[in-house]
């Protein structure tokens, strides 16, 4: 047992984690979203997406089109949902800001409201939106639009996060491997 070597291994493990975290955050900045890569958790978009599929998101678009597959997150509900936009309504209103600009077009604000539905569900998502909410707002509720797709690769995260024993096994094996080998 060589203490110096063990400590170096721990440091290397930390590098791996921080590296992965930095990559994730950098991707988030590029795509302007809080979670640039998501794993599908439900079967509501089958047969397009199955549980465990990995989706890449982009959120630098100002508006969404009908037909886009979006990931949205309702306030006070933790789980993000992947569904398709079926209706889209844009509304122009005057901005709330009190600054008196001469250029009137600057004072106009367009808000986009969306209605979504899972391809595999019978009805639209209004019952999922929660009390009193009938539409999603593009700028508030949308996490990102799905641009790319990898099948099944994310199943390991479901396997780990949905079972406490699996979680322990995973971290245990990871820690042991880093400390014992190398």
């Amino acid at each position: 047992m060589n203490l110096r070597r063990e400590l170096t291994n721990v440091l290397n493990l930390c590098f791996i984690f921080t590296g992965a975290f930095m990559f994730w955050k950098a991707l988030g900045i590029v795509a302007n979203t809080s979670s640039p890569i998501v794993v599908v958790l439900s079967g509501s978009m089958e047969p397009a997406f199955y549980r465990g599929d990995v989706l890449f998101l982009w959120n630098r678009n100002q508006y969404n089109n009908v037909g886009d597959i979006v990931v949205y997150e309702i306030e006070n509900k933790q789980i993000p949902i992947v569904h398709r936009v079926i209706n889209e309504y844009k509304q122009v209103s005057s901005k709330n800001s009190k600054s008196k600009k001469k250029d009137k077009s600057q004072d106009l604000d367009t808000t986009q409201y969306l209605l979504t539905k899972g391809d595999n569900n019978n009805g639209h998502d209004v019952p999922l939106y929660g009390h009193g909410k009938q539409y999603l707002q593009k700028d508030k509720d949308i996490v990102g639009t799905v641009k790319g797709y990898l099948p099944q690769v994310g199943y390991i995260t479901i396997w780990i996060s949905e079972n406490k024993n699996n979680q322990l096994i995973f971290y245990g094996v990871l820690g042991l491997a880093a400390l014992l080998f190398n």
């Binding site: 397009a48 209706n87 889209e88 005057s94 106009l108 409201y113 019952p127 790319g148 797709y149």
Partner: protein
């Protein structure tokens, strides 16, 4: 020095590298094929489209736009051939019929636009890609968020989304030939009041 650990590491490293390269190759090939075939994809014609009936009624439910909303359904004929959208990397095609409209009010503030889906279909096999439908009732009851639908001029489009086995999602729309153009634009009628029987 040989050890089991080193062998394991080098094997997983190589496997991971080749996987990433393979995925990149597949994505590049799909995009290349798409750009080469772009002219084909962008020129799939609508061979028939006709709206036979427009059903409107007033609904008052959160599921149908809120209180006193004019809802609408269409009855239509539609035929087109989507089989050229199938390549080796096409898992499914999602085809959807949309209606786009603008608010006719002149002032900028309060002006609104909308786009709704009347009907959609998931096609998972190339053999099912020839659509030939008569007198289909649209799947979804549609409404406008800001006002009523009546008198709005609606522009109908048939659009598609290719879902790949791996890689980027692709979108496009079916071309409407000149002679069918008048069939794809219509004005929403007012709700027919039911005659009250004495």
């Amino acid at each position: 020095m040989f050890s089991l650990n080193q062998r394991f590491q080098s094997v997983t490293n190589t496997a991971l590298t080749y996987c990433v390269l393979l995925i990149a190759l597949v994505i590049a090939l799909t995009q290349l094929q798409l750009s080469v075939h772009n002219k084909v994809y962008d020129s799939i014609p609508l061979s028939n489209f006709h709206i036979n009936n427009i059903q409107t009624n007033i609904r008052s439910s959160r599921m149908f736009g809120g209180s006193n909303k004019q809802n609408m359904k269409l009855k239509f004929d539609l035929s087109t051939d989507l089989s050229s959208l199938w390549t080796w990397n096409t898992k499914q095609v999602f085809v959807y019929l949309t209606g786009e409209y603008q608010d006719s009010t002149g002032s900028k503030i309060g002006k609104s636009t909308g786009k709704v889906t009347f009907w959609d279909k998931i096609i998972t096999q190339k053999e099912d890609a020839v659509l030939d439908m008569e007198n289909i009732v649209s799947k979804y009851s549609v409404w406008d968020k800001n006002s009523q639908l009546k008198d709005k001029i609606i522009n109908v489009k048939l659009q598609w989304n290719i879902q790949p086995y791996v890689g980027p999602l692709n979108f496009g729309e079916i071309v409407v030939p000149k002679e069918l153009l008048p069939n794809t634009v219509f004005t929403v009628p007012d709700v027919k009041r039911k005659s009250v029987k004495a």
